[in-house]
Every structure is written in C-alpha cells, then in structure tokens.
Amino acid sequence: MHKARTNPFNTVGMHGALILYTLIALFPVFVILINSFKARKAIFREPLALPDSDSFSLIGYQTVMRQGDFLLYFQNSMIVTVASLFFILLFGAMAAFALAEYRFKGNLLMGLYLALGIMIPIRIGTVAILEMMVATGLVNTLWALILVYTAQGLPLAVFILSEFMRQVSDDLKNAGRIDGLSEYTIFFRLVLPLVRPALATVAVFNMIPIWNDLWFPLILAPAEETKTLTLGSQVFIGQFVTDWNAVLSALSMAILPVLILYVIFSRQLIRGITSGAVK
C-alpha cells in the first residue's frame, strides 16, 4: 500500500539532497574540530586530514587551559546564559499571557511597544547602559549581563509566546476560574505547562546570541572573576600573534556547551514548533 505512494527514485533523491546539505552544514565545524587536535604544521600541511599518531597534538588545549581559568569562564557563561533564559522565559511568558489573555486599554499599543526592541541594535545604547550599571554598582557583576540579555531577549519572547498563548483553550482557563483558581495559578499551573514547547523554542533562539556575545561581557564585566567563555577565548585572537592551535581549541571548546544546551532543548523545540499542528 505504501509502495503505490512512494517512488523509490524519489526516496533516493530526497536522501541524496539531505545528505549533501548535511555535509555542507557540518563541514566547517568538522574542519575546526579535527584541526584543533593537530600540531601546527599539520594544520597547514593537510587541513583536511584526520589527526594521526604523527600529527596529533593537544598543545592548543594545553595553551588554552594554562592561559586562563576556563572552568570559571565556563561557569560564568553558564550562569549568565541560564539565568538570562530563566528571566526571559518567566517575564516574557507573563507579559505574553497578559497581552494574549486580557482585553484592556492599550493592549495593542503595549504589544507594539514591547516589539520595538527587535528593530534597534541594543549595542548603540551601550554607554547609557554602562552608566546605569556603574550608578547601580552592577559593573563587573554577572547581574549586569543578565539584565541586559533579559531586556534584549524579551521582545522576541513576548512576540512568539503570545502567539502560542492564544492557542491555549479558553475553556480550560475559564474552567480554572470557575474552580476558583487565581489568575496566577491559571498562568503557572495550567498555561505554562501547556506552552512548554514554545518556551523551548524561545530558549533556543535566545541562548545562542547570549552564549556567543562578546560585546557586553567586554564592556560590562571584563573582570577576571566575571569573564565569560567567549570573552576568555578572544584572548587568543590577538593583535600580532595568532596562536592557531589555541584559537581552534578555544573555538572547539566554545562550540561544545552550546551544542549540549541545544540538544537539551531541541526535542522540546521541535515539539514547540510543530505543536501548532495539534492544537
């Protein structure tokens, strides 16, 4: 019965196209990873060869580990990313719920206001942000970064989440109201669990720029104790000397954690993105 509908030629064609694109997608990552394990000469002699007993070298990783406290940098990045995501999701979902659920004066205006931030690069507000952080004593604390990333992530989060919140059954929320649940309980107990996939989508979209950002760590929290991993690895892309072993190793080390975070969220992401289908 399936035979009548699937053309074997098509199947081969589809897999062919996908495999081709997958190769294109992964190739550069592959190049970086294999070369991070090679000695300097081998990187240049045979960039595409896998490291063998001759060319294998951990010198890059050793340099990186020696140069800074990468475990601390990693911890800082982790704290900043996870805390920012937490606040983006919590605050964003709350605001999205208010916009999606309640009819009130200025609802539309509020929605537009919250979306404005998507249109201007936050970088140009740097000086004002920095002044504020200095005034509040938050400079060189991870809080400064968490606040900025939270603000930066909110517009898209509100935008996406309110779309999803509208899909949550009105009857369910009303049933809760009639059963005496407060608006807060309805939000936290009924609605949030149902939009979990959407939360994952927002998390993935926001996680990447936060983890990878170089600018705000540099400006707001450049102290050794608060350095993030991306800022830490920037040390190796220097002005006059470029230690490629170290650069490649640092980049490889920076890829892994995002990859892991992505894997954690990705099941939910797919469900989130596709849940429009089930309603």
Binding site: H2, R5, T6, H15, A17, L18, Y21, A25, P28, V29, V31, F44, P47, F91, M94, A95, A98, Y102, F104, M110, L114, M119, I120, P121, I122, R123, I124, T126, V127, A128, I129, M132, L147, A151, L154, P155, V158, S182, E183, F187, V204, I208, W211, N212, Q234, V247, L251, A254, I255, V258, L259, Y262, V263, S266, L269, I270, I273, T274, G276, A277
Partner: protein
Amino acid sequence: MSVPRIRWHIIVFLAPATLVYTAVMIFPLFNTLRLALYSEVAQARVFVGLENFRTLFFDPIWSEQFWNALGNNFWFFLIHMLVQNPIGIALAAILSHPRLRFAALYRSAIFIPTILSFVIVGFAWKLILSPIWGIAPSMLDAVGLKFLFAPWLGKEEYALTTLALISVWQFVGIPMMLIYAALLSIPDEILEAGEIDGITGMSAFWKVKLPLILPSIGIISILTFVGNFNAFDLIYVAQGALAGPDFSTDILGTFMYRTFFGFQLQLGNPHMGSAIAGAMFAIILVGVCIYLFGIQTRMRRYQL
C-alpha cells in the same frame, strides 16, 4: 453603571518585563538616538535638529558611504530572500515527507550552524575559502573545477555575495524549522484529498502546500528583513570594521559601528553614529509597517 475595576493581575503580569525592558533597553536606546539631534562643538553639546541627517543624506562624504551601505544591505537581504528562504523551504518540504527516515537526524545537523557564534563562523569560512590554506581550491581541484576558484573574500565584486552566502549557510536552519512546522500543521486530510484528485509530489507542493504556508513565509521574510538590516557581526568578524575590500561589504551595521565607536585613528562620533542608527531604525520600521499593513492584511489566511 459599574466602574471598571483595576485588574491588578494584568499589571503584575506586565510589570517585570516592562520594567526591565524599559530600563535596560528602551531608555538607553532612546537616550542614544536623541544624540542624533545634537552635535559637538568645542567640547560642548549643541542642539542641531535634523542637521546630522542632512549631512548623512546630502554631504557627499557621508551620503556616498550611506547609500553604498544601504545598497549593499539590500543586496545582502536579496540574497537571503532568494537563496536562504528557498533552500529552507525545500529542505523543510523534504523533511516533512511523512515516510522519510532519519528526519530528526538531518534536521538537527542542518540546524547546527545556526547555533554557532559569528566568531566561529567567520573564522571557519575564512579558513576554508583561504587561498593559502587551500581547502576550497583543492576541493575544487579534486572535481576538476580549479579554474572556478578565486579569492572570493578579497575581490570587490564577490566579497559581499560570498559573505551573504556564508550568512545563508549559518541561518538556513531558521526558515527550515518554521516552514517545517507550518507544513506539518497542514492536516493530512487536505493532502489526501489532493492525492485522490491526482495532485501528488511536486504539484502537491506547489498547488496545495505552498499557498497554505504563505503566512509563514511572510513571517520569515519580515524576520529576515529585520535581521539583515540589523546585521553586523559576520561582516565585522570576517572583514573588520572597514568592511573591505574598498567598502564593498559595508552594510549599515558596520557603517554605524565604525562611525559611532570610531576605528583605528578615526574617532568615534556618537552624534553621526546615532543619526545612522536612527536611519536604520526608520528603514526597518518602514519595512515592518509595509509588511504589517500592506502585505499581511492582504494575505489570505486559510482556516486549517
């Protein structure tokens, strides 16, 4: 007549997001954009109205750079629209095939570039395309196409297109995921109805699926637009703030950064920088409005 009561919970729900967003984003942004109306004369800030914008648009020194950057920006956007989105749609169409095996695997692999940082992307592609390191030339050589190779990132005529394609490579996962979701949300009954009417394979895609996912394509287009006109990092990482060769890869983002913060011996000029940022904001706002009021409202949405 009942006086409407204050619904405190709405305020509670909105307050945290609004406060953080207003304090850390809107306030600093507008505080900066305000600078566009001032100029610095002898260490003092002087209100000059729209003078900076006049300079930006009409003084040849500035306007040449501005129009160049704007033109490049449109080309950058066009490539994304013509390459990124069709590829994303095509991949999604294949992935959404109901009996495809390993779909999850492909999907994750293709999404991986999207999660990489610009530093990694810029670095990796510069290595691969480098005529010195020789990955791209030797790979072309292997298939007998060596003559096609050129130092793409270094040639005025190719550099911007090359960078746009790298950016496409990085972000193709986003349209793919969104379209994939839209395709999955088309009920099977509709496709089966088509099948019975003899609409299968490619024609099913063109005649049934595509019209139904048009709203998603619209959203992707506007996200691409906003993203592209705010783009900065990839070009900065790959070509530096001067967006070489000879400003051929200069887009509004790099132009703004260079002007606002200064570069090398060029001192930062927050006033002109803010003027450029203001112009960028206006362009994006106009684009978004055209979409919202011109296209989105006219686009037919089908109840699925």
